[in-house]
């Protein structure tokens, strides 16, 4: 242990601990704009400077390892003045749009400006001006609001492994952006939105679809239907001051009705169908002998990652569409027919923890019903904004039930929102189909993982090797192992975001801590609510859900049959990494051979 003195207090920390963390241990919060423990410590923002006795200049405490006998001062008038000056310099090159900014009252720069009592701007100098990139369907990037903290660089490199962002140019003109500081559309971005959740300001944010949805709701010509993703019911509560992960399913349904949606359906029903279809596909692969592993395909960012970075695995992706798209196809065919409504007059909105779904709904193959299956998607953040605007408080609303027929899901559909959930839900069905005996214990604890976990499941005569990769970075490591022949799996679930959808790029942004792992565990606490709802469900396996059984009997035919295939299956394609890349990876390999 290392002993040092911070602000006249003794503290002992492990070797290698930065002074900033040592100070936190004794309750001193040194401010920072770039530091995110275990993810990002580039010493870029210089707000965390402290004075060390015997050293000539202030030092950034986020990268200053504690040393034996070190005497540190974090709040001398000189340190505070220097910090204030650093903040003033940041603000001198920052647009003053707080009132109209999406991150108003939830911005780290704004918070520090308040904390350090900045009342005027003594520094008046040049300002950088870059165009806003709002070309991509999912993410908006406004470089003028970028404070060059590089958190997006770190999360995209280390966790997502897409390497979209880097520092471009140098000195005052320096800006964080994709190659050439160009549009995300020209980069291999997979639209997961993790960069948004770590951005301290509003330099990165989602494409806002709330206005379109309000407009549709006001249009008397349209029958507006909404579906809610599994994780939403346990992630909006925190925005209303309730404990993280509080399940508020019934109140959420009530709120959606009050917003004016004609039908409030549950995306988990589509998740149940997804389970049935994926399990059917898996059983066929077991019969045919592959291709293995079968990768899940409900995360559009993961699908895009595979298509761009690992095209050799495209055939391994499950053909089954994501629940969002299954739902859209179902509403505009089955429901439209049943309700006697022209599908062209139905406007389908999905509420998702995701910004990638905005991209997914625009994919050309997502027109199983003949028109675009999903019309608009709003993320959890956008949904909460709509509730605020409409004056709807989740805490004060009664519990209401989803509408039928697409409102009763099994517990399997609900746990889709957590990492390992899709695999677990599918295994509940595969186990019984392959083993021909009912599964007694339902929770496959082995696969509720934090990063990358594997398990062996004995289902009838089969010994199934399954794995869950958390984050596309973990998926990359897993695929490299498979390519090198070091690992073999039958079924692998991949979600791009930490903790699965509960940690999605469209979820509430949590800026209370500068600790990546703490942020991730905050997100995974949301999953607790989903598992609680699962346990309370009458039916916990998709293939036992009477609503689903009836749906197949009345309309869809057999799982994986012609109608199910037409509506719920789609192919995947290899894509170029760069829009103007002359050769696909595949073509390059062709020439090399």
């Amino acid at each position: 242990m290392i002993n040092l003195t911070i602000d006249r207090q003794q503290v002992s920390v492990e070797k290698g601990t930065p002074v900033l963390e040592a100070a936190r241990k004794i309750g001193i919060d040194i401010p920072t704009l770039c530091y995110l423990k275990d993810l990002n410590a580039p010493a870029a923002c210089r707000v965390c400077i402290v004075q060390v006795e015997g050293r000539p200049a202030f030092e950034a405490s986020c990268v200053l390892p504690a040393e034996e006998g070190m005497v540190v001062h974090t709040n001398t008038p000189a340190v505070l003045a220097a910090r204030k000056q650093v903040l003033e310099l940041f603000l001198s090159d920052h647009p003053f749009e707080c009132l109209t900014c999406e991150r108003n009252l939830n911005c780290e720069l704004q918070r520090l400006a308040k904390r350090y009592g900045i009342r005027d701007l003594p520094v008046e100098g040049e300002r950088n001006h870059y165009p806003i990139d709002h070309v991509s369907p999912s993410v908006v990037r406004e470089p003028d609001k970028c404070i060059r903290c590089r958190r997006c660089v770190s999360v995209c490199e280390n966790y997502i492994s897409a390497n979209i962002y880097r520092m471009m140019d140098r000195s005052f003109q320096a800006v964080v952006g994709p190659a050439y500081n160009g549009s995300l559309m020209e980069s291999p971005c997979i639209y997961c939105g993790q960069c948004i959740t770590v951005c301290p300001t509003s330099a990165l944010r989602e494409q806002d679809s709330t206005a379109r949805v309000f407009e549709a709701l006001a249009n008397p010509e349209l029958h507006v239907v909404v579906q809610t993703a599994p994780s939403i019911r346990s992630s909006i509560a925190e925005e209303f001051g309730l404990p993280v992960g509080t399940p508020v399913e019934g109140q959420m349904v009530a709120a959606l009705r009050r917003l004016g949606f004609d039908r409030v359906f549950d995306d988990c029903v589509a998740a149940d169908i997804c389970v049935i279809e994926e399990a059917t596909e898996f059983m066929e692969r077991l019969k045919k002998g592959g291709p293995f592993p079968q990768f899940t395909s409900c995360c559009p960012s993961w699908v895009l990652f595979c298509e761009k970075f690992y095209p050799q695995f495209v055939a391994n992706l499950s053909e089954v569409k994501s629940p969002q798209q299954i739902f859209g196809a179902l509403v505009k065919t089955y429901y439209a027919k049943r309700a006697g409504i022209d599908p062209a007059k139905i406007f389908v909105v999905s509420v998702m923890p995701c910004v990638s779904k905005k991209y997914e709904l625009l994919r050309p193959e997502m027109k199983a019903s003949g028109c675009q299956d999903i019309d608009a998607e709003i993320s959890t953040r956008e949904f909460v904004r709509m509730l605020f605007q409409a004056g709807l408080d989740i805490r004060k609303l009664p519990r209401e039930e989803f509408d039928s027929p697409l409102g009763s899901a099994s517990g399997a559909g609900v746990i889709f929102g957590s990492t390992g959930g899709v695999l677990e839900a599918t295994l509940r069905t595969v186990y019984e189909w392959a083993g021909e005996k009912p599964l007694k214990r339902l929770e496959f604890e082995e696969v509720r993982s934090l990063e990358y976990k594997e398990a062996v499941i004995h289902a009838g005569p089969h010994e199934l090797r399954v794995a869950v990769a958390r984050g596309t970075g973990a998926a990359r490591r897993l695929m490299d192992q498979v390519l090198a022949g070091k690992k073999r799996y039958h079924f692998v679930e991949v979600m791009a975001c930490p903790g699965g959808c509960v940690g999605g790029g469209g979820q509430p942004i949590y800026i209370e801590t500068n600790d990546w792992n703490e942020q991730v565990s905050h997100r995974t606490r949301r999953a607790g609510g989903l598992y609680q709802l699962d346990r309370e469900r009458e039916y916990r396996k998709a293939h036992e859900n009477p609503v689903i059984l009836k749906l197949y009997e009345e309309y869809l035919g057999r799982p994986g049959g012609p109608r199910a295939h037409k509506l719920f299956h789609s192919g995947h394609v290899s894509r170029k990494l760069y829009a103007d890349e002359p050769l696909l990876k595949k073509e390059r390999d062709l020439v090399r051979r």
């Binding site: 390497n163 979209i164 962002y165 880097r166 520092m167 471009m168 140019d169 140098r170 994709p178 190659a179 050439y180 980069s187 291999p188 990494l577 760069y578 103007d580 890349e581 002359p582 050769l583 990876k585 073509e587 390059r588 062709l590 020439v591």
Partner: protein, 161 residues
């Protein structure tokens, strides 16, 4: 598909020869970029994408490096490229006059190329020859103690292709 792939392969045969020796090695990007620039005179988007894909380095990383070092050029320059040193010593000893001379004589500012494609101009932060300030680099040649008169002579000397 294969035909275009082969055509492409022919186009970058020389570059691929260079990249081949760097593949799978770390810390080679700057070397590869310098050699490519020597080959083509500048680094086009197409060349950078080719390098990124071949060396398996993200394009963002490649353009980050290219935009950081003033050594790398992403636009074609004139047949004769002039660099005026703007380091402290050269600045004090009158590099601004040299820029003005060039603007008067051949109507060119840093970052531009003359209409006839003959001259290109850029400034460089310091070439490390401060004792000879102000310093001008023309092509590969470093020339010290340059004043306006000398610069005009040099334009005449290098002006013929």
């Amino acid at each position: 598909m294969k035909r275009t792939a082969i055509k492409r392969k022919e186009k970058y045969q020389e570059l691929d020869g260079v990249l081949e020796k760097y593949k799978g090695r770390k810390g080679v990007l700057i070397k590869a970029l310098s050699e490519a620039q020597e080959m083509y005179g500048f680094l086009s988007r197409e060349v950078l994408i080719h390098i990124a894909c071949e060396l398996d380095v993200p394009l963002s990383e490649v353009t980050s490096v290219v935009s950081f070092y003033s050594l790398f050029k992403t636009e074609p320059s004139g047949r004769c490229h002039i660099e005026i040193c703007s380091g402290t010593a050269c600045y004090v000893k009158g590099m601004q006059d040299l820029l003005e001379t060039l603007e008067e004589e051949i109507n060119i500012k840093p970052g531009e190329v003359t209409g006839d494609g003959r001259f290109g101009l850029s400034t460089v932060n310091c070439v490390g020859a401060c004792s000879a300030a102000p310093v001008v680099k023309i092509g590969d040649e470093l020339i010290g103690d340059v004043d306006s008169k000398r610069l005009k002579q040099l334009l005449g000397k290098y002006g013929h292709d």
